[in-house]
Symmetry: C2
Subunit: 287 residues, 2 copies
């Protein structure tokens, strides 16, 4: 049970969390905070939050759970605003797609020995975004990865886990760096590839014919190129090292593939693709 | 109306064409030919073809329409077998994903002035393959691209168009080279990227965690990596120049993307991704 949950940035992610907790009567009150009163009023009208504030310091008064869901570029300033007034027993958590950068930001503002921050990443989403897209079952059977550190309070971790479990999510823990590397490979790289593919095709001389004849494969493949560019810019900026590393690995692999085509090495091409098919089929079967 | 349709290679593509034509009573008889009697009997049992032959020369006797749907590696030998006995007014057509190579093969065997070959490419498919996967409505509202040459008989083109129209397909024509370039961009490149992505991830040290945490984006993105490796090997071999060209363009684009990440140029990253999103959203809206 949460007394007062404060959500900074009431969008799809924070909004869906609030709806799920509301359905389960898990919070006495849910307060939203951002700089957009119209948007926050909408969240109230939609029944996502109970009330809102435009003042972060006021919002966190008496809060026991605080979810940080603002863009990374706004995070440092927000943390600085709430630090002086955050209750001593309040828990700070987040829902960002990368963990290393926010761990560093919180350490910078709150000190490296701050024990009440539980970094979290719910692996869920929809093509739509914003509070209007929020749904109470977004997290059912979805994984939420927490990346607590050695000094993070065990009871804070337990409370964040309990909160997410109410939504139907499955909880796991990973070290910060491994999280960022794994997500770079499984999520960030595919998005970068999709953006690059669309951009490459847009810049080809046969562009009109290309868009005309793009078939189902292109549509599926580039679905993630319809993702929110603000969020993805932030992911690229905050997970730079891991993303550059996987891009380099991919470039190397694609170069090998091209070399096999150049050499017309049909056998190696077949084996490479057969292995990939096998691995992907196994993966899908395991879901 | 077709008197005798002969299909070399009775799989998903040829089988579905046969089923559609059968439903419309468009062929007096449909004969299948390959080297696999068990497979061909299955096609008869499934009602896809009326009869079969294991001898190409016997199969094409009295044929008026011949569909070549064997793997590219088997094409030259097949053409050599049927050349001596193909009726003078018979029409040769195909359903391959690349056009330049088969146009060259036919020209090599039948002569550069052979007027009865109408290269075709139905843009349709399913994840499953083989005659068991054949369905009569596979081509409904799907595009079939014909790539006739200057010397191709107009009546041959008209008859191939008429045949495909019966299946519900939409007919278009393109120059051979443009077809291969456009398909390299919209179909072949995405498949190569999907194969490379799976292969890259398989070879990373964090492989187990990666496969564990691969989310919906990875699943959708790599769906086409479950494609038939034999078919895709042949596509890579027969559309080498166009595919290498688009791979190079893509690698250049991805390199630019990586450079923006390295430089932490958030504005350029955002604009690049916003443009891609816009273009893709427009494309999907136009479908």
């Amino acid at each position: 049970m949460i007394n007062k949950l404060v959500i900074f940035g009431v969008g799809l992610i924070g909004g869906s969390l609030a709806l799920a907790l509301r359905e389960a009567h898990f919070c006495k009150t849910v307060v939203g905070c951002s700089r957009n009163a119209v948007h926050l009023q909408k969240a109230v009208d939609l029944g996502v939050i109970d009330s809102f504030s435009l003042d972060p310091a006021e919002a966190v008064r008496d809060a026991d759970m605080v979810l940080l869901a603002v863009p990374m570029g706004a995070m440092r300033h927000l943390l600085q605003q709430i630090k002086p007034v955050l209750p001593a027993d309040a828990i700070l958590t987040d829902a960002g797609s990368t963990k290393g950068s926010i761990v560093a930001e919180v350490a910078q503002v709150f000190g490296a020995d701050f024990t009440r921050f539980v970094p979290g990443h719910p692996i869920a989403g929809r093509e739509k975004s914003g509070v209007e897209a929020a749904i109470s079952d977004l997290y059912v059977n979805r994984r939420v990865i927490l990346t607590p550190q050695a000094h993070t309070d065990a009871d804070a971790i337990a409370k964040v886990e309990a909160m997410w479990r109410v939504t139907g999510a499955l909880l796991e823990q990973m070290p910060v760096e491994l999280h960022d590397q794994v997500l770079a490979a499984t999520s960030h790289l595919p998005h970068v590839l999709a953006f690059s593919l669309v951009d490459t095709l847009l810049n080809m001389p046969q562009r009109e014919d290309i868009l005309r004849y793009a078939a189902g494969g292109f549509r599926d493949f580039t679905r993630i190129a319809s993702s929110d560019p603000v969020m993805w810019r932030d992911i690229c900026l905050t997970n730079k090292a891991a993303i550059l590393a996987v891009i380099a690995a991919f470039q190397h692999n694609l170069g090998e593939f091209a070399a096999l085509i150049e050499a017309q090495d049909g056998e190696s091409l077949h084996n490479r693709m057969a292995n990939a098919k096998q691995a992907r089929d196994n993966y899908v079967a395991s879901l």
